[in-house]
């Protein structure tokens, strides 16, 4: 039932939280975000080996845990709380859902087991230079080459594109925008890391110059795959934002209790107290929104398109404000 969490849910979240407290403290996040690679392969391997996290929503028949959007949301909330630097969102959300939604069983069998066990880092390359996810204006082209295809064009804003072993590329084929599997080490593929504002989540620009590729799903099928994938992915992102916002609130409240000015804790001043109260309002509301959307996804509700967008929009603004207020309360650390 909606908003009713099972013991398994709670264990998932608690276990992951413990793992991340240990493996992804602030200092480690700062260290990793300053590297070009952007994540620690050892931690990633442990996330896979100990917790099976990369395969969380991968069906069991492909070696995953077969969990649903609610479990994913809970996991993402914990990762957002820890600002985990890892290719989880690209691999385990974007690429995983894209493969599943493509309906291509052969591709699923080929790629998902490696993704689930953490040995294949994967991503979805939709946007080009304008950053739009809409498949309509895609300029990257696919041309037939024997049994396969060759891709030419540019992709940008590709999450973890600089390290991905598998890149699912949206390109125009004869029948319209289609999804293709490209190896990270494919010939003709040049990858350039982009300088990102959020250094904990790396992005890359790709140049494709006759890159060999395999069709995933059917020609002309990418629009539907991308739409359905994003619908679920933004819920995961919203949950991640809830985790981050909650951490901001926790930090603010903790600091406001111990920081003394004018002979009293700053949290006793209404200016700070009310800011914290408003943060709580927004963080809890964001959580309700993300969870509701996750349940709508789990239940395959008709509301999903609406509520997933609402959750994403609300959680983004709540996280932004929580981060800004957290800075203000800490006063410039």
């Amino acid at each position: 039932m909606i908003f009713t969490f099972t013991d398994e849910h709670q264990q998932l979240a608690a276990g992951l939280r413990r793992f991340l407290q240990d493996k992804s403290p602030s200092a480690e996040v700062r260290r990793l975000m300053a590297t070009e690679q952007g994540y620690d392969p050892k931690t990633w391997a442990q996330l896979a080996g100990q917790l099976g996290l990369p395969g969380l929503v991968v069906p069991e028949k492909y070696g995953g845990a077969g969990a649903g959007p609610v479990e994913l949301a809970l996991a993402c909330e914990e990762m957002g709380r820890a600002l985990l630097c890892a290719p989880f969102f690209a691999t385990a959300v974007l690429a995983t859902y894209a493969l599943l939604h493509s309906g291509d069983q052969a591709a699923a069998e080929e790629f998902l087991p490696g993704m689930a066990e953490g040995t294949t880092i994967a991503t979805l390359a939709g946007p080009e230079d304008d950053g739009a996810w809409s498949t309509e204006g895609v300029a990257t082209r696919a041309r037939r080459d024997g049994d396969g295809y060759l891709l030419d064009g540019r992709k940008s804003f590709v999450l973890d594109g600089h390290v991905a072993d598998l890149i699912l590329v949206v390109a125009q084929a004869d029948a319209g925008p289609s999804l293709f599997a490209v190896r990270g080490d494919a010939e003709g593929l040049a990858r350039r890391p982009l300088t990102t504002l959020d250094m904990t989540r790396k992005q890359a620009a790709l140049t494709l110059d006759g890159v060999p590729a395999a069709l995933v799903g059917t020609e002309g099928g990418a629009a539907d795959v991308v739409t359905r994938t994003l619908r679920l992915a933004v819920i995961a992102l919203a949950a991640e934002q809830v985790g981050g916002a909650q951490r901001c609130l926790d930090m603010s409240v903790e600091y406001a209790k111990i920081r003394m000015q004018f002979g009293r804790p700053i949290g006793s001043f209404q200016a700070i107290k009310h800011m914290c109260a408003d943060m709580l309002l927004e963080v809890e509301s964001a959580r309700s929104a993300a969870y509701y959307a996750a349940w709508a996804a789990q239940d395959e509700s008709d509301e999903l398109p609406l509520v997933s967008s609402m959750a994403k929009a609300y959680c983004s603004e709540a996280y932004f404000r929580a981060a800004a207020d957290n800075i203000q309360i800490h006063g410039g650390i």
Partner: protein, 439 residues
């Protein structure tokens, strides 16, 4: 035998099959409901309830809502008076008042706020002086909802001004129909009159009507305010979807309306407004979408942004309520999300106004039948400041959330320890002052 969700549902279903009849009068139905304990399954068994925990009570309500059965009259009687008396009153008071509220014999009002005591309720100045077996009440209350129809009032009055402000207050159940009580309606900006001022001139209340201890009224008041906060804002969503009506003045009507007629009328109201309340539009975007479409602004990007912003706020508020409810139903306690409805409802009222204003454009200048949505946009405009003030202002809510939910330290308040006589309250010029400010 221990009750379970399914045992409660079955019991309720069986009772409904036997007792629910659209052709009996609302009066008879409410009596059956009260006497069976199903009117408030969460109340104690000896006081018209069934002693069920909230999650099991919710199971019972679901059964009643399945057949649209009306519950006891909505209002301060069920929401505040009876719970306060059950928790703090003598058995005599419970006998006198609890069932009476459930069957709609008494309507209640709350006599707390004063011109000089709004956010700082404990600064109240209305006096109750002992006179044998009675107290004599003098002073003034304000912002009394439903003061005109009320049979009884929950009165806070100062009984010892030599004690610090929180410690010299007594809580009474006062009969409103007496010569010393003068109820004067207040006209709001909207032209409506939902509130009253109440003046006491040697009004009388028996000592037996003290709820709790003499000079111990503050603790009792806090329990009332707790019930109030749960009732305003998002609410838990637990209870009868449809409420009956009552109060001494509506007794006859209650006997002349059948349950079936009443349900039908309520459904018609709900259809025309998209809600079963006629008071406030709340956060519904439906009328605004209609307005935007009518005015040809359905494609205006700003109008759309504002509408979605409103829809998101009010959806999120509902989801907060659902989440709190799910925790309760799962046998847990509602968390922080339960304290937020009041603050959120202020934001929703403001956003409704902002969205309406963008959509209505120049039409926003007009009111009454000339105004958009036949004047409802203008009415909402004028009503929008209300939710951030009544029932504890936004500022007080933020204090409460900051202190009680987040555990932030309170401000020092030297006025807590001064004898009340030495304290300055209000503006010290009772004629022109304004109550209920927001600090």
């Amino acid at each position: 035998m221990e009750e379970t969700a399914s045992s409660v549902r079955q019991e309720a279903r069986e009772w409904i099959d036997e007792n629910f009849d659209p052709d009996i009068s609302l009066r008879v139905w409410l009596e059956r409901l009260a006497d069976s304990g199903w009117a408030q399954p969460g109340w104690p068994q000896q006081w018209c309830g069934r002693g069920l925990p909230p999650d099991l009570a919710a199971q019972a309500y679901a059964e009643f809502n399945r057949v649209d059965a009306p519950g006891p009259p909505a209002g301060l009687g069920v929401m505040l008076a009876a719970p306060t008396i059950i928790a703090n009153g003598t058995d005599d008071l419970k006998r006198q008042f609890v069932r009476a509220v459930l069957i709609g014999d008494h309507a209640w009002c709350q006599l707390f706020s004063e011109p000089g005591a709004g956010s700082d309720l404990a600064g109240l100045q209305t006096r109750a002086e002992r006179d044998g077996e009675e107290f004599i009440v003098n002073g003034q209350k304000v912002w009394t909802s439903g003061g005109q129809g009320a049979d009884y009032g929950l009165l806070l009055a100062r009984t010892d001004p030599d004690l610090p402000k929180h410690r010299g207050i007594t809580y009474f159940a006062l009969a409103m129909e007496q010569p010393g009580v003068d109820v004067r309606p207040l006209v709001q900006m909207t032209g409506e009159s939902g509130f009253s001022e109440v003046f006491f001139t040697d009004a009388r209340v028996p000592a037996s009507a003290v709820i709790g201890e003499i000079n111990g009224g503050w603790g009792v008041a806090l329990s009332t305010l707790g019930f109030e906060r749960t009732g305003l804002g998002a609410g838990s969503g637990i209870g009868f979807r449809l409420s009956g009506f009552g109060g001494g003045k509506l007794r006859e009507q209650q006997e002349n309306t059948t349950v079936g007629e009443y349900i039908e009328a309520a459904k018609t109201r709900a259809r025309s407004f998209g809600t079963n309340s006629t008071a406030m539009i709340g956060g519904s975007v439906t009328p605004l979408v209609k307005l935007a479409t009518d005015l040809g602004r359905g494609d205006d990007p700003q109008a759309r942004q504002e509408i979605v912003r409103l829809h998101t706020l009010s959806s999120v508020n509902n989801w907060n309520g659902l989440r709190a409810r799910a925790k309760v139903q799962a046998g847990g306690r509602a968390g922080a999300e339960a304290s937020l409805g009041k603050l959120m409802s202020s934001a929703i009222a403001r956003q409704w106004r902002a969205a309406a204003s963008v959509i209505a454009g120049p039409q926003d200048m007009l009111a009454g039948d000339d105004g958009p949505l036949r004047g409802r946009v203008a009415l909402q405009f004028l009503a929008a400041p209300g939710p951030s003030i009544y029932g504890g202002s936004d500022q007080i809510q933020r204090n409460i959330i900051g202190e009680r939910v987040l555990g932030l330290p309170r401000e020092q308040d030297p006025s807590r320890t001064l004898p009340f006589r030495e304290l300055r309250v209000g503006t010290q010029s009772s004629k022109t002052e304004a109550p209920g400010e927001a600090s």
